[in-house]
Each structure stands twice: as C-alpha cells, then as structure tokens.
Symmetry: D2
Subunit: 289 residues, 4 copies
C-alpha cells in the first residue's frame, strides 16, 4: 500500500510547482473545491507555478480567461504551457510558407494562425489549393464533420508528403462521472494507422512539454530540476513524463486515478510517483500562515 501524504508538506519542499489542469485544478464539474487556497498559499510563499496542459483547443489567453470566469484569477496566460504552444513553435520554426490545413475549431486555429501562416480547415482544401498544403494539424475533436473531413485528411496525406502534427496526445477526456469523449489524439492515431505514416506528437508524456516550461523559467532565473515538482492525475502522461524529465512527481486522486485503484495501477504500469496526495488543495485549517 502506497502512503497518502499531505499536499502542503510536499510543496513546501519545492520552489516551482507544475500543475496539470484537468483532474487537478478543475474537473467536468468546475474547479476542484478549495483549489484557490493552493494558489493563495503559493503566492504568499513566493513560489512559482505553471499549468502544463495537453490542450490545443484554445490559446493561453483564452484558457486563462476560463479560469477567471470560474473565479480563479491566479492563473494568467504567462503561467500556461500548452501543447498548442509547442505546435505553434514548430510551425514558426519549420513551416515557412503555404497552407496549414487543420482539424479543429476556428478558435483552435486562430491561435496558430497568428504566426503569419495561412491556415485553412480541411473542409476548404480542394484541387486548387492542395499542392500548397505544407502541414496538417490535429487540433481538436470539435469543429468539423468527422466522416467527411477525416476521409479528406486521409486523401490529402496520400497525395502530399508533409509533416502531420498532433497537438494533443490524449485519446479521451471525461465529460461527466460516467462519460468520456474521444479526443483528437485518438482520432489522429486512427488516421496514422490508415495512412501508414509517422506523425509528430506534442503533449505529455513527451519531454518537450516540460522543456518548454523549464525554458520559460530559465529565461529569468537559474533553476535546477530538483527544485521543481510536477502534480498530475494521470500516471501515463503527467507522472511518466515528469519522471522521465527528471522531476519529482505528485499523483493526486481527483481525476483519472481513483483512490481504490491507485495501488493496482502503479504496480501494473510500473509508473511510480514520488508522492501520492488526495488532492492538490492546501488546507491551512483555522490558523492561517
């Protein structure tokens, strides 16, 4: 049996905290109750924090705004590192002209659009512009007609040898206590196996996500990986990725991993967090700090 530890006593040992978003700060029901106290505590103690999230559906500004609407003002756009930001960096560095075709909402494309590249939904690719398509991006599971556009994406990739970016590696995401929805990462794997080509994936557990956040910090201060802890609800993404990058890791039980399954899951996957906590809430009791 793995020991459940107190979240506050753990973060007291680190200078910088990386948080996963879904299952840690919020769930399908809204914010995790009391999570605002965690950020108050971090601010009071002068600790830094970043949200490291597999989400390419919106820009950091839009993601931050959604926390604000829910009353969590501590999360500003500068605090967010998303798989969408890695996608944008890839396009900036590697795709210099032509069209970037995408599957996702207009919102998700708007963010990568700002690089100056010409983005078009797959639905608008046709014989007059297909030869200018220089990349295809899987951004979001919403915003397109699956049957029509997925078949079209397959045929674009049979005609054009171009990089394909999967901007969110998750295969599914929760909608309610009983329901999940297929995520764009699952859809992209199907298309990859149909066309037989190798796609580029951004998102945890890949270390490029952690490197991006680590680099943001190193721009203004010196830091060692030993000073950072990653907090997440999913062994295969947050914990495996954090461990591999060399960070200590905290598994919380408010999302994908339930208290009753945690021992069996750790043993069967072989993925071991440094610590396990009920949740990521700092409870200060009546005493203040």
């Amino acid at each position: 049996m793995h020991r459940i530890e107190n979240f506050k006593s753990i973060i007291d040992k680190y200078d910088i905290i990386f948080f996963d978003a879904f299952g840690v700060i919020k769930t399908y029901q809204g914010l995790v109750p009391g999570i605002e106290k965690t950020f108050e505590y971090l601010e009071a103690k002068g600790k830094e924090y970043y949200i490291v999230t597999n989400d390419a559906s919106r820009s950091p500004a839009q993601l931050a705004e959604s926390y604000h609407r829910n009353g969590l003002t501590a999360i500003t756009p500068e605090r967010i590192v998303s798989s969408g930001m890695l996608t944008k960096e890839y396009l900036d560095l590697k795709v210099l002209d032509g069209i970037v075709a995408y599957l996702g909402t207009v919102d998700s494309a708007h963010y990568i659009e700002s690089t100056g590249l010409h983005t078009l939904p797959v639905s608008e690719i046709n014989n007059t512009n297909i030869d200018k398509v220089n990349a295809l991006i899987f951004l979001d599971d919403e915003g397109f007609h699956w049957q029509t556009e997925l078949n079209k994406a397959v045929n674009i990739l049979r005609r054009r040898t171009i990089p394909v970016i999967v901007a969110n590696t998750d295969r599914a995401y929760p909608l309610s206590i009983n329901e999940v929805s297929i995520a764009i990462g699952g859809i992209a794997s199907m298309i990859e196996s149909v066309v037989g080509k190798q796609f580029i994936r951004f998102g945890k557990p890949d270390s490029q996500m952690f490197m991006f956040a680590y680099d943001l910090i190193r721009e203004y201060r010196q830091i060692s990986k030993k000073q950072i802890v990653m907090v997440g609800d999913t062994l295969q993404t947050d914990i495996l990725g954090g461990n591999k990058f060399g960070l200590d890791t905290v598994l919380v039980l408010t999302g994908n991993t339930l208290a009753k399954d945690v021992d069996a899951r750790i043993t069967s996957t072989g993925i071991m967090p440094t610590y396990i906590c009920e949740n990521a809430v700092v409870n200060l009791g009546g005493l203040g700090f």
Copy 2:
C-alpha cells in the same frame, strides 16, 4: 524478380478456386474486364469457386445481386462467404437474448437481424435499454453519424462488459484511382484503443473465413486443402490468410498491389504468394476450349 505466370495454367492445377472480390473480380470502376470469361471457363471445366470477402455491409443475396446487375450471373449467393456470415454465426451461437447494438447501415443490420435477435443502431440505445445490450457490432462505415455515435459506442462499452464484433477487418477501401475511404475496421481499432478492451475480429487474414468456406464444401464432398487455391490482390489479407490456412495462393495485380511494387512488397513483408499473375482473367485466345 518474381515471375509473372499465366492464370489459366495455374487454375488448371486445382479443383476449387477461392476469389477475393474487391481488386480481383471488381474494382471501383466496375467488373475487371474479361472476368466473366474466367467463370465461363470454370463452369465448363466443372471446377468450383467461392468468393471469400471481408464485407459485412450486405447479405450474400444482396452481394450476388450486385454482380448480376453488372452482368456477372455466375456468382450466386451460395458461392459467397463473407465476414458478415461469420458475425451472424457468432451471434447465433453466443448471444442468446437481449439487444445487439450496431454501427452500420440498416441493410447491414437487416442481415444479422434475421437471427431473431433484436438489433438496434447505437443511436437508439439509451438509459431505458442499455442494460439489455448484449453485444456491439461494427458492420459498416456508412449509416451513422460518426462523432455522435462513436462517442456513444465508447460510453456503452464503459458501462457494459459485452462482446464486441468487428465484422470487417479492413482499415480502408479504394473509392477511385486516387482516393480511399476509412473502413469500419480502422474505426473499430480506434474505439478498441480508447476503451482498452479486446474486440473479436472476423475477416481475412483470420483463418475462420477460410474454414467457413472449406466447411461449406465438405458438407457435400471430400476435399483436401491441396486441391484449393486462393486468388487475391492483398498480401496482408488474402495471401497471408490463405497461406496460413495451408492453401496455395495467387497474387493478382489488379487491386492493392501494383506491378511496379510487387517485388519490394513481398520482400519487405515476407509474405510470399505461391504464384503471381497480371489478373484473374482466363484468356482463351481464338481457340475456345
């Protein structure tokens, strides 16, 4: 370089011929030109033949009728062995009551429906009937709204521990010389990886397809596998499956495998047909027989 042989000289050596349908007898353009002569020749010589096809979209009677409409009357329903027939046999043997939920057209379900089981499209499963669902079948890529119904299928499988049948293992099928369409086998693999459960697949290269045809013949005559040859256009299904079942195999170049690629494909996959022919057409020249 592999030698290209004459199709007639090969089938002269066997008593029973198994044909794949798509890429051998017909293509997206209609019947393979001259293929009717092959069946005239087989009839004249008293040789038997079966169509062994990964197709669960229609009943054998409907499949045969589509050949008749194209002028090929030699193919009667009794000559057809489809992955849909194996699905039907499975349901007859193993699912005794309740609802069979399906993804596919009404036509595809009509065929398995005749078993007396209650079939319902996934779109009609809801809280009042979900607990009676005793199997889920992937029949065809047409006939349902992908986004809505695939998400619904995932959530049915999270609630019910039931057998899931994939009635066609193909991942894609050709629409024209340049275009393919995602097949139900590809869709089913995505759902399988999202839910993490193991599905049951019927269709070549699985030997159960060949066994079904072999059993049909043995009901009325004695036969050895040495007297049968399998003719197909796809190394990974027709040729691998035929070989594994112990049959000699003919690869034809009118479908998935192009003449220019055949040597590289055989070497890279390690799947070796007994013979290679341009097509499955018996050319008798001016001489008759």
Copy 3:
C-alpha cells in the same frame, strides 16, 4: 461480482470438453489435485475430451507420456491437439522441399522432422546451405544459445524471403509461484519487430487450434459447436479463442487468473467466460454416480 459455479453441473450440459493443459490440468507443482476424478467421471458418462494446448516443445506422444508418468493415464496422444500439430500440418501442405531451420530443442524438431523435410537447427545454417532454407520455425525457448542464434535468425531472414512459423504464441510461462520464463512467442515477437516481416502464428486464441480439434471429432461423428465447452485459465487465449470460435467457455482459477483478480480482469479486458469455476475438478462427494 461474477458468480462461481460448480464444475460438474456445467460439464453435465455438454458432450465434449476441451481442456487447456497448463493451469487447468497441471501446474508447475504437478497435476492439479483431484483432476484424475474429472477424467474418471467423463469416461463413466461417455463424454469426450481433448487437450488443446499451445505447446510445440514435444510430440503428442511425448506430452501424453508425461501425464502417464504423473499417474494420469486418461490422456492419450489422440486426445491432444497442440500448436506443434498445426505447425506440422502447415509444413506438410506448404513447404515441399529444402531445409526447415528451427529454434528449439532436438525433441521439438524431431516431431516436425517426421514429415520428411530436412530440419536443421539455426546453429547449423551457414553459407553452404542458407539458400536451401525454405522456412524458419520458432519451436521452443530451450535448446539454443540465445544471443548467437537469435542474431543468426535475424540475418537469415534478411537474406531469405521465407515463411516464419511461431509454433507457440505464449509470451511467458510460469516456473513457480513467483517466477516466469520468457516463452518462444515473446522471443519471436522481438525478431519480428527487428526484421519488420510478418510471421505466421499457431496457437490459442487463433481459431485454427479449435478448428483442428473440431475437425478431429467430425471425422467420426456429427457434432455442433453448441455441444462443446472450452475450459481454460487464461482470458486472452483460452476464453477469447473459445468464444470467438463460437464455443461456451469456463474460466478456472487454478492458473493465470486468480480469484481476487477475476472481476477486474474481465471488466478491463472485456473478455467474458460463459462460466467461472474454482477448478476443473469433479467432486462427487461420498455418493458416487
């Protein structure tokens, strides 16, 4: 919670019983205590039985002899269907001349040797005979030097485009309550991924194993799949394979699947046995029959 049923009351409903060997009839400690009573009961009742086993390390005669040595005389060679027998049938039908190279013990090769083909261990393949090698067979994890001969097998397959048979699909087998050993099926998968070619696998859950047994019976009597039940200890091989072939299935808890895990395993894999029993022992109490 799945219900645990009485084994005798189940087999009373069927005419023919298929048994897996390891984990059902015997374990690493010898025969399952009391299992001889099951076979006495079957004989008394005139029911037939077959052992359907992923084992290519010895011939049916040698396998039967090992039961006799342990005091179980009911299992004669004619009652055994092994993946080695399917390998032998494949070679008889499809490999007509040349050398069959193998990895395994001399005993395992001796059995396939009797087909008249020339078998040679991989260690004896060299530049003078490599061009006569017409098949490569993975028989057993014992009997060869892994590092030397596995590297040699890879290089034979880079030079020769030949069928490769994996005569036992298991990835591991138990040695004691705490220890397992890597099986030839796991080794073969590594070689397959290194050479990138597609191997032919015989063994449960593949239906060809069940067909072979089913055909043996049909040679002397009429039988329906409804009259047969498959008894096994492993969901992914015995139960999945039996279900797919259309048989009713019994999961026993004396081998791979422990009583404490059975509910979680069924739910997580989606593989559902028709029945679950403690073991395959018929306990008649003091009453006789």
Copy 4:
C-alpha cells in the same frame, strides 16, 4: 525525385552542426573516407559541432578515444552527447540510493557508476539484495548471458516496482554490409511486452537528446534553433527527432538509407528531411579555403 545537394553549401548556412555518429562519421568499415576534412573545415570556419548518438555502451571519453585511434582527433569528449549521458542524468536526479541493476558490459556500467550509486549486473542480483534494487537499466547487448539474465530481469520486475531505463532505443545495428545485430533497444521491447510495464527510453528520436545538446551550448552562448542543423542517416531517429525539435535536417546516404530507396522511404514514412546529401564530407577541391 528529391534533389541531392552539396553538403558544404548547406552547412555554410548554419552556425552549429549536430552529427549522428554511425552511418554519418563512421560505418562498420571505419571512418567515412574524407570525413576529417569536414571537421577541418568546421574548425577553420569557427563553426561548432556536436555528436548526438544513441550509444550507452561507453562513456564520452571512451567514445572520443575510439575516434582518435582512427585518426579523427577533432572529436573530443565535450563534443559528444550520448543516450548514456541522459541515463546518467536521470539516475542523478531520480534514484538516490540502493542498487542499480544493469544489463550490459562492465564498461557501460562503469560510466553510470560514477554517480555514486551502487551498480550491479543482473547476474549478481539475488534474494539477499533484490529488495534494494531501485532501478533497472538496459545498457548494451553485450556482456551478459541472454537466456539466463533476461529471464532474471523479467522476474526482478515482477517483484519490484521500479523505473526501467532503456539507454539506447535502436532495435538493431549493422555489423557488415550484409549483417546486423539485435540492439539492446529491441531486447528491452521484448521484456517490456512480457512484463507489461512501461519503460523510460532515452535516445533519438526523443527530443530529450536534442535538448541536452542544446542546453550544453546555451550554457556559454545565446543560440536559436534556426542556427542548428542535424545531420543523420536514419529517417526514424535523426530526421524525425531533429524535425520535431524544430531543427533543419540533412539526410546523408552513407548509412541506413540507400540512394536507391530514399524517395520511396520518405514517401512511405512521411518523414521529410530539409536536405539530402550523398555524404557529410566537405570536398574543397584543389582550391582550399
């Protein structure tokens, strides 16, 4: 047809060059003829270079020495980034005490040993020390008895829930023009599938390799990814990994990818280098520079 470009004209456009080792600088026959001129040119022009190699069999110092013995003195230990170095960094950060069990040569372990951790070959793990084993590392395919020690590694991992590091992701490496050898990455994948746990892999195409080199440079100068080009012979490791990290890439035809296959390989994998060159040799002709 992809255009073959002049290597010198390409590197003239970049400030820093990353080279793969095997297939670019050396082959199984020794150094690539003329490769020393490339490094003379780089030194003369004041360009920097790093060797980025999937090799955990020796320390950077030992790797550099092997170049020196072959007459290539330009490659010093500081110029080498190996997957072994990432393994060492992981152990420094994440494994604080206990025993690190390994599969590989004593030389390969000696390098990670210097971290102060207690390393022991798998062969020396037994009941007295197994509970102190806190990590298992796959270092090299040489130096251990495969059958005995691989089975032992499986059983260690059944008993201990510990991180498993694969310090070289390659599945095979060339021995001569016709022969390859199974690499430790292929062996590790077999063990991973037998035990069903998730291993941590260091080595191209994973971006952590590129980050490590990038970080080394940033310690002493400012640099943008646009100033770096990665030179490699393998699409799936060097080119895919370089592209994903945001670097421009050069495919050379002196190793894994042959000139006759290059177009087919790029189309079938969808992995596109920025440039293709015959080799990584700078030919200055009679003119000097």
